[in-house]
């Protein structure tokens, strides 16, 4: 591995790790607040049990999110000093607001986790909501920083130096809206399905059925609603990408030749050598329609870009297909969830479907970020600075990579093991208590 590849792999790995915990940190507080609200309103102890149980898990996941986030804020400089040198002053603003949001979040989580017996119940409830809101807002700020890398704005690039910097314009660049909407929905959806799926599984196993059913409903109310909205948000994102980053869109769709009535492929592997799509099912005109609302519109292909400016086509295409396939499935499952809920009966096969959907959202999040970030290559700042110009001069980046792979894999294993223990422990206790 050369140093550039190692640095990219390290960044990808650290971000891909962090995003899982960040998504949980942004959304679980809402689920817990909902459960706790129901407890305070209805006085049903089972909701209190549920909040307490979630709190235990979230405390652990939150800590992993916090430390891996800390690593990222250093890694921006450790790996990409050439980038931060110029980008820091331009996109630091969302990071600085994010810092404030994290601070409030960190304080509020302390209060929420440890303060139940020390505060007025509603003040305590509000600290939970505050964790959620500040986490959610901080997520929006970071993604806005990322969107700037895709559609740089708020400066003039004069002889390799940024001038006339306007951090506000940089933050509200043309990609911020679609990226933030799509990401925040993704977090709700992924975590809602993961949590809902776990409780569906426990319910099927006959453990504490009342609690698990309620837990499943709370989590999936958020998750299913987001899943139903997500294809619209994704479509909006696709149209913006078609306009703003045509090379990325072409890679996503494996679209080599510029032309009208461009086909949309279902499945398939792009062959970069022959510039053709293998094994895909073409839907003529659909790509033109999706990208520009008109089946006869012209869609820019990769042929309009010099070969060295192509992103890795196969990776981007496959990741995109995975995301869209999962998005479609989850939207359907989300719709069914509300349908069965209205009929007041969840058939067992559907609960098994929910259990099987547990990891889907997280997979789609990872795939989506691969689309966005690998699709941006070879640019670190689209059209302005190449990734290879930004990388650190420090040699031996592979060791940095191995170090973090080792560290994070151990951490992931420990976390999974702990979560398993947590769930077994609480569920056994609850089942014993004939709840």
């Amino acid at each position: 591995m050369d140093d550039l590849i190692a640095a990219r792999a390290t960044m990808a790995f650290s971000l891909g790790f962090h995003i899982i915990f960040a998504a949980i940190g942004m959304t679980m507080p809402f689920f817990m607040s909902a459960a706790h609200w129901l407890y305070l309103k209805r006085g049903d102890e089972v909701y209190l049990e549920l909040t307490k149980m979630w709190v235990k898990g979230v405390a652990i996941l939150f800590a992993v999110g916090a430390v891996s986030g800390t690593v990222l804020s250093f890694e921006l400089g450790l790996l990409w000093p050439g980038f931060m040198q110029h980008a820091g002053p331009i996109i630091g603003m969302p990071f600085s607001w994010e810092g404030t949001a994290f601070f409030i979040e960190a304080v509020a989580i302390g209060l929420f986790l440890y303060g139940r017996k020390k505060m007025n119940p509603w003040v305590h409830w509000w600290t939970g909501v505050a964790v959620g809101i500040s986490g959610f807002v901080s997520g929006i700020f970071v993604v806005a920083a990322n969107s700037w890398m895709n559609t740089p704005a708020g400066f003039d690039w004069v002889n390799g130096v940024a001038q006339n910097i306007d951090p506000v314009a940089a933050m509200f660049n043309r990609a911020w809206l679609h990226e933030t909407i799509h990401m925040q929905l993704a977090a709700l959806q992924a975590v809602g399905f993961a949590v809902g799926g776990i409780h569906a599984l426990l319910y099927l196993r006959g453990r504490a059925p009342r609690l698990n059913l309620k837990a499943m409903k709370i989590a999936l109310t958020f998750g299913a609603a987001a899943a139903i909205l997500q294809p619209f948000a994704g479509h909006f994102a696709g149209q913006r990408v078609a306009e703003l980053q045509p090379a990325k869109l072409a890679a996503m769709e494996g679209h080599f030749e510029t032309g009208r009535r461009a086909p949309l492929y279902i499945g398939g592997i792009p062959d970069v050598e022959t510039r053709t799509m293998k094994w895909g099912i073409p839907l003529p005109g659909m790509l033109s329609f999706i990208a520009h609302n008109d089946i006869n519109a012209e869609v820019t292909g990769l042929d309009k870009f010099p070969r060295e400016d192509w992103p890795p086509v196969v990776i981007v295409h496959v990741a995109f297909q995975i995301m869209v396939a999962i998005g479609s499935v989850m939207a359907a499952v989300g719709g069914l969830f509300f349908w069965f809920w209205r009929k007041r009966d969840f058939p067992r096969w559907f609960l098994w479907v929910l259990a099987a959907s547990m990891p889907l959202g997280m997979i789609a999040i990872e795939a989506g970020w691969v689309v966005t970030e690998v699709g941006r290559q070879p640019w670190i700042v689209y059209g302005i600075m190449r990734t290879k110009e930004a990388v650190t001069p420090v040699p031996g980046m592979v060791y940095h990579f191995y170090l973090f792979v080792g560290l994070y894999l151990s951490l992931a294993a420990a976390t999974v093991w702990l979560m398993g223990r947590q769930i077994m422990m609480v569920q056994t206790r609850l089942s014993g208590g004939a709840k």
Partner: protein, 336 residues
């Protein structure tokens, strides 16, 4: 003006990180000392004392990083290139201690074997991280940092290598341990344990003085030794003198079990040490082989600085009240 405010925020964050976050490190370091029968109880006290606040205490470090990379990008990138290796070591430590602490506290099954593993990881990594923090701080002003150097040793090892940074690392670890003992005394109602914390405070106090001496001795091998630097800076000399004199007051109040005064004096001492160090070098952030890199010369364009100051000032209106609320809920109630 903007830059003054930002430098103030960096200094203040650093101070708060040392005073608040530092004592969390110290708690881990403390657990390395033999505790006999009181070990289990000490652990519970530390869990309770740190649990609600450690994430908030940790945020001061992030704040410094963000201010640096937005407001002073050249300083940030120089640090991240030349001190890549100590930064990595620091990060590993941060990851391990944060998670080990939380795992220990929240593991649903509290059994001795896994608890022991968490404790070892937490305390060893607390010491490790504190030492690396000191090494990084010591490396800032040695005049060795040279990001343009061609050979690997000069560029990436020499800046932080040597006895002097290591001595500063040890010094920092001792200060953290000292702070932790002083803070923890009031976190327990058990008199035996409180006595133990007092005794350990004395141990760390001695260690701080010894390590301080070591730092001075090690600095004789540096380009400019500390005694020389100090005599060029009477202000620092005065501040450090006051810090040393405060030991007398500290012991007086410890003997009389004045918990709050002891805390205030200990925090004051540490603040003075930091202030003395700050006065030596500010407004230079780094002294590299090519000369100093100052906050004023290296600042980002004004539009950026305005936004950063705005975020920090507005943020402070949210952060400080919520932080005070947090401390009131968890810290003040206990001491009546």
């Amino acid at each position: 003006m903007m830059i003054d405010i930002l430098v103030f925020f960096i200094g203040a964050s650093l101070l708060l990180y040392v005073l608040l976050g530092g004592s969390d490190y110290g708690a881990g370091i403390l657990e390395l000392l033999p505790a006999g029968k009181l070990r289990e109880q000490q652990k519970l006290v530390i869990n309770d004392a740190m649990g609600p606040v450690w994430e908030a205490n940790h945020m001061w470090l992030i704040l410094i990083v963000v201010i640096l990379f937005m407001g002073f990008p050249t300083i940030f990138t120089t640090l991240m290139i030349s001190l890549h290796i100590p930064m990595l070591a620091l990060l590993v430590g941060i990851v391990v201690r944060g998670t080990a602490f939380t795992f220990r506290h929240y593991d649903a099954v509290q059994e001795p074997k896994s608890q022991r593993v968490y404790t070892v990881l937490f305390s060893v990594s607390s010491l490790w991280t504190a030492v690396w923090l000191g090494i990084i701080v010591a490396s800032l002003n040695r005049g060795i940092i040279d990001p343009r150097a061609k050979d690997v040793w000069t560029a990436y090892f020499a800046p932080w290598w040597g006895l002097y940074p290591l001595a500063v690392g040890g010094f920092v670890a001792c200060i953290f341990g000292f702070l932790a003992c002083i803070y923890l005394v009031d976190e327990t109602t058990d008199t035996a344990l409180a006595k133990r914390f007092m005794r350990h405070a004395a141990v760390f106090n001695g260690l701080v003085i010894a390590a301080g001496g070591l730092v001075f001795a090690a600095s004789l091998g540096e380009r400019e030794s500390l005694p020389v630097t100090f005599f060029k800076n009477p202000l620092t000399l005065g501040v450090m003198g006051v810090a040393t004199l405060l030991f007398v007051a500290l012991w007086f109040f410890i003997k009389r079990h004045h918990v709050w005064l002891t805390r205030v004096i200990a925090a004051g001492q540490v603040s003075l040490i930091l202030l003395g160090w700050w006065l030596l070098y500010a407004p230079n952030a780094l002294i590299t082989a090519k000369g100093p890199l100052g906050f004023y010369a290296m600042a980002a364009p004004p539009a950026t600085l305005r936004q950063l100051v705005l975020a920090l000032v507005v943020g402070s209106f949210f952060i400080f009240p919520s932080l005070i609320f947090l401390l009131r809920v968890f810290k003040l109630k206990r001491s009546k």
